[in-house]
């Protein structure tokens, strides 16, 4: 592959618009050492490419300088640890770079026995929030207008579970113009008919590409219910019935599991606000079971945990 827009470092110490901070230097050094000493076969991180930051798979220690980290590094790379990714697993032992929020997805895979901790080396980057839109030539300062809304309320400046930690201490991300919770509250203030109209319109856009499922680090099923044909649980046609059925099922299967990384919404080619549904389900799970998804793999999620005092007043 030609590297027309990647990896080339200029004299001002930037690579494709990415600042080479002390943290990035440290990151590259760790990656280089892990690869050179054979501790891992591949480092999965971010690089600066033609259209902005994107995932990169570095297998050669000499290419460790392709790695960057700045506010454009939005992607939750934990999706590449998902057991569905045969072609990634084939590369051999993975060294993965994670932000604080990404580590929650690692915890999710560990919690559900989809990953063995020893099979991956985690390099944590201290993070003060990321941009909502990462496809830009250089990172810009985070403001309420450009910060990813999911960063609001994030209490993890330093990722857990990691083997290495790099970067300077980071400030809290700015508060977005409107938080996801505020958007949910505004929607809930509407009468039922308007909410129904809202979601009907949103789901009508769905083309059933399943990008939401494919990018999700926690959609781990070997064969998704949407792909089953005997019986056909979910109609594959992107008509109102099929789309409602798919979108509701996807959200419910992530209830109490979704870590709120927002990749499903970001990858949706037609802009369905999936985060509103995912976050609402987080709220319900918190209210109903006192459970908030975190980065502790030992903390059982309601879906995998039965307690005698579980609320059941909704069973009628």
């Amino acid at each position: 592959m030609s590297e027309t827009a990647t990896g080339a470092q200029t004299s001002d110490g930037t690579a494709g618009g990415a600042k080479v901070t002390a943290g990035v230097k440290e990151l590259r050094e760790i990656a280089r050492t892990l690869l050179a000493e054979g501790d891992v076969r591949v480092i999965i991180g971010w690089e600066a490419a033609r259209r902005g930051a994107r995932p990169v798979f570095v297998t050669d220690p000499a290419e460790a300088d392709r790695l960057i980290f700045d506010a454009r590094c939005v992607h939750n790379l934990v999706t590449y640890l998902n057991p569905r990714r045969d072609h990634v697993a084939e590369l051999g032992k993975i060294g993965l770079i994670v932000k604080g929020c990404d580590a929650k997805a690692v915890a999710g895979l560990l919690r559900e026995a989809q990953l063995t901790r020893e099979d991956v080396v985690l390099i944590g980057v201290r993070c003060g929030g990321v941009l909502e839109e990462n496809e830009m030539p250089a990172a810009v300062t985070l403001t309420p207008d450009n910060v990813a809304p999911r960063c609001y309320g994030c209490d993890i400046r330093e990722p857990a579970l990691v083997d290495h930690l790099v970067g300077e201490p980071q400030p809290e991300p700015p508060r977005p113009a409107q938080t996801i919770d505020e958007r949910i509250a505004a929607l809930e203030d509407k009468p039922l008919e308007e909410r129904w109209a809202f979601w009907t319109e949103q789901f009508s856009k769905c083309v059933r590409c399943y990008a939401c499922r494919q990018v999700c680090p926690l959609c781990v099923c070997e064969r998704c219910v949407a792909d089953k044909t005997r019986p056909q649980w979910i109609e594959p046609s992107p008509h109102a019935r099929g789309n409602l059925s798919w979108n509701i099922t996807r959200a419910l299967h992530l209830a109490g599991r979704c870590v709120g990384c927002g990749e499903c919404e970001r990858f949706c080619p037609v802009g369905i606000p999936l985060s509103l549904m995912n976050r609402k389900l987080q709220q319900i799970v918190a209210e109903r079971y006192g459970y908030t998804v975190g980065d502790d793999p030992e903390q059982a999620a309601p879906i995998g945990d039965y307690r005698l005092d579980d609320g059941q007043e909704f069973i009628k």
Binding site: M1, T4, D145, A197, V207, V215, G271
Partner: protein, 375 residues
């Protein structure tokens, strides 16, 4: 009158759209969808930022001529869905005991007009015409094609991911279309490209006037500029790319393209030329139902999953190679047309960073300048 060029003012162009709508003709055109209009306002955090007006362009069936957007942006989805809908009924059935009644669907359609189509989107229809008339004639596709008059609007080039000229299309091409509008001072140079386009122009003669030479020259210069601009984005030899792919199936360049790919079908959904579909029977009650076809994608494992459980394309690398192979080698070898018009939508929609411009450039280098390939 197909060689003639006319002038039409913007107001007359809108009036032409209004005339068509008034006569009961469906008019499909780019519409700036206000992503912040109710009830979808909650959808986008963009809507909550003062001063930001998210431009979200879609081809829509106009309800009013004022909706026609002449800003020359790129609609999110291509025109494909108006000829091969995301889903459509192929027939309906009713079964009682051993008696089965089949209700056919109409394959003739009312005349309709597409205004301000992107040249890459109309070109895609002409490319897909080939496979739709290969062995079986696809009556639904052909019916819609026959009923539709398409007028392109010359494109100023959207961004650095456009590469239409690299694959035999052009920002001012009329391939797959019946006419072309090129913006000039005060309006548009309007020309027909087919008999169907000529009929449209003739029917709306009152809206047209002779065009001054200075304006046609300006239009030609603008179009030449756009062609040069897009040509600079990607310079490949499609024939060399086709032949190289055909003879390098196992080459690491082709066999390991998809490491960052998520294997979703977003690229296929937004692609103007991806035309694969699945056929499903949907029961709608006891003893009756609808047989439908809906868009499918070679990027999904189920696309090639055999009943035996064997899957000949069982990893994402092989599925992505299929996408490249089909578009740039298999289809051109069979039909003489590249199954891509360089719209760049697949690249823009892929947040994992699969970049077709970069991939084609790498293949072109391997094909034409192998000495430059980095080991």
């Amino acid at each position: 009158m197909s060689d003639e060029r006319f002038f039409i003012s913007e107001s007359d162009l809108r009036a032409l759209a209004a005339d068509l709508l008034g006569a009961g003709t469906e008019v499909i055109a780019p519409v700036a969808v206000d992503a912040c209009a109710s009830p979808a306002a909650m959808a986008s955090s963009e809507c909550l930022r003062p001063g930001m007006e998210p431009e979200h362009l879609e081809y829509r069936s106009l309800t009013d001529a004022s909706q026609l957007d002449l800003g020359r942006g790129l609609p999110v989805l291509s025109l494909k869905g108006y000829f091969l809908p995301e889903h459509e009924a192929l027939c309906r059935w009713k079964q009682k005991g051993t008696t089965i009644e089949i209700e056919a669907v109409p394959t003739e359609f009312a005349p309709r007009v597409v205004l301000a189509a992107k040249p890459c989107d109309s070109a895609a229809l002409a490319v897909v015409d080939e496979v739709m008339n290969w062995d079986d004639k696809d009556e639904l596709w052909n019916g819609r094609r026959a009923a539709t008059t398409i007028i392109n609007l010359a494109c100023p080039v959207v961004d650095e991911s456009c590469f239409c000229t690299a694959v035999g299309a052009a920002p001012d091409a009329v391939k797959g279309a019946d006419g072309l509008l090129t913006p000039v001072k005060g309006g548009y140079v309007f020309e027909a490209a087919t008999g169907k386009g000529g009929v449209l122009l003739e029917a709306h003669q009152a809206r047209l006037s002779p065009v001054a030479d200075a304006l046609t020259e300006a239009a030609d210069a603008d179009n030449a500029n756009a062609r040069a601009h897009v040509a600079a984005n990607l310079d490949i030899d499609a024939g060399s790319v086709r032949d190289w792919i055909n003879t390098h199936f196992e080459d690491p360049l082709l066999a390991s393209l998809a490491i960052r790919c998520n294997g979703c079908g977003a690229c296929s959904s937004v692609c103007p030329t991806c035309h694969c579909f699945d056929i499903v029977d949907e029961e709608e009650g006891v003893g009756r139902g609808t047989r439908r076809r809906c868009w499918d994608t070679c990027q999904a494992p189920t696309f090639t999953l055999h009943a035996s459980g064997h899957n000949p394309r069982d990893d994402q690398h092989s599925r992505y190679r299929q996408r490249i192979n089909h578009k740039f080698s298999i289809y051109p070898l069979r039909f003489g047309e590249v199954l891509c018009t360089g719209c760049g939508r697949c690249t823009r929609v892929c947040h994992a960073g699969q970049d077709l411009v970069e991939i084609l450039e790498a293949i072109d280098i391997a094909a034409r300048r192998p000495a430059e390939v980095t080991p």
